[in-house]
Amino acid sequence: MAERRFEISRIPGFATIAVATFVMLYLPIAALVTFSFNAGNSVAVWEGFSLHWYADAWNNQAVKDATARSLIIAVCAAVISTTVATLAAMGTTRRARFRGDTFIYVAINQPLMVPEIVTAVALMILFGMVKEATGYQGLGYLILAHSAFCIPFAYLPIRARLEGMDLSLETAAGDLYATPWQTFRHVTLPLLGPGILAGAMLAFVISLDDVIITEFVKSGGQDTLPTYMLGQLRRTMTPEVNAISTALLALTVVLLTIFFLLTRKRD
């Protein structure tokens, strides 16, 4: 009789719980995606395959506007936050520690630590005053708020990339009489490229997904895709919401896959 090998790292029941956890993690998402293709009105009873909820969402002016708004904000926020995060990462890595560097690090990561609802009401009050004083009601407030809370998400992958780069190439460029700007433009920036792109993608995804701060900062008629979806909750749910979710989900998965490929450690 074959004796079962005593596997040292096996703990009875753990594998079962783990597999069950993975199933529980993906089952709701799978159901959400599946019912976006439902022919009927239900998000729980299958009535045949159809793409008409996608067509409905696509032809819905409110969804179109919200999508455009989401993309504009996310692109602006990604560009702005990645730019300032790149500068800050250059300022806080690969140099001797200096007075206040911990402060800078904590300040940059602050949006990760404060509960979003607190920042949201704080911004609502502050921007409310500015709105009243200036009369400006545009998307600028949302872009500003998104740019700020995206900074740590852009900063961390760029910083990680910088820390893995040694200074010798830049020193060599300096020895060859490159100006600091030439060194940055032709040596540092190309090496840092994947880190910057990764940071920008993460910032884009985070901005695209934001609900709470957007909900509190937006002026009337400035729904983004997530706040539009949250608003739909008060009505009867149709698979249209599933279709929008699935599209957003697909976009996120594509961007994250690229992100992982960019930040993958080469052995």
Partner: protein, 303 residues
């Protein structure tokens, strides 16, 4: 240090600051600065139709816990507020416990896979982690709704004959938060278990320890920093949760986050909302300080 070296060091520090200034400015205007506004507002007097009157008052802070009797002017405990605090804290603790109960075996499972498979399992945990929280909340809502996937399936099988009323209860909020925050538990646990030296298990079994004893006396103490980190990473966003209780709890089963919103929208008591925000911020900061200490201990192999 020579004068030249000193000058270089000063220059390096100056450049470090200069390069960080744009980021700090942006954060100051749209993330850190506004918190000061909240702090100031918590000491003002509520206006009649929302907003505030610029008069100093401690009422915002007092009314967190107490309510003033209109006729006698005496203070009594605000039961409704206490119910919300209690629900927030207890649901957050339960969320953490559930996430740990599922997350620890999951992290262990991932860490003990062959190296090649491990990246894939880890990726499967990371995808939900980065997926829109609202979408995941919707997903779980469609499962537990009265006419949702779960009830439809159970009715069809015949286990139940009336739909389970889960949605818009505390249980629904608990399920939802455990679902959305689970990856935050698994990732730090995995990091801790990944560093765990499996030879210690061998030593334990050689000394006639049972599986349970090895788990309790060897594994858990060593991965404790990971447990603390994961627990706090789940507890903190649970306590400040807004979307999940709003979607799954209905209007009734509020948590602190929704209660804060209520003060600014319908409740029209901005100072109370501001004081609640500051309170939440202080609790979360305290929890994160514990987390930083645990994480530092975790990275120190001799700790």
């Amino acid at each position: 240090m020579s004068a030249a070296e000193e000058r270089l060091a000063r220059q390096s520090a100056r450049n470090g600051w200069l390069l960080s200034v744009p980021a700090l400015l942006l954060l100051g205007v749209a993330a850190i600065g506004p918190l000061a506004v909240i702090f100031v507002y918590s000491f003002l007097t509520p206006g009649q139709y929302g907003n505030v009157v610029w008069e100093f008052s401690l009422d915002g802070w007092i009314s967190i816990l107490f309510t003033r009797d209109i006729f006698e002017g005496t203070l009594g405990l605000a039961d409704a507020h206490l119910t919300i605090f209690w629900r927030s804290v207890s649901l957050s603790i339960m969320t953490t416990v559930v996430a740990f109960a599922l997350g620890f075996p999951t992290a262990w499972f991932i860490a003990t896979r062959p190296a090649k498979q491990r990246a894939l399992w880890l990726f499967l945990i990371t995808i939900p982690f980065w997926t829109n929280l609202l979408i995941r909340t919707f997903a779980i809502m469609e499962v537990i709704r009265a006419e949702g996937v779960l009830n439809t399936a159970l009715l069809w099988i015949g286990i139940i004959d009336t739909p389970l009323a889960i949605i818009y209860t505390d249980v629904a909020v608990l399920i939802g938060m455990a679902y959305v925050y689970l990856p935050l538990m698994v990732l730090p646990l995995f990091a801790a278990i990944d560093r765990f030296d499996m030879r210690l298990l061998e030593a334990g079994y050689d000394l006639y320890a049972s599986r349970w004893q090895v788990l309790r006396r060897v594994i858990l103490p060593i991965v404790k920093p990971g447990i603390v980190a994961g627990s706090i990473l789940v507890f903190v966003p649970s306590l400040g949760a807004y979307v999940t209780p709003r979607v799954l709890g209905g209007g009734k089963n509020m948590m602190i986050g929704n209660f804060i919103e209520l003060q600014f929208l319908a409740g029209r008591n901005w100072p109370l909302g501001a004081a609640l925000s500051v309170t939440l911020l202080v609790i979360v900061t305290a929890a994160l300080l514990i987390y930083v200490r645990a994480a530092n201990r975790g990275s120190n192999p001799h700790g």
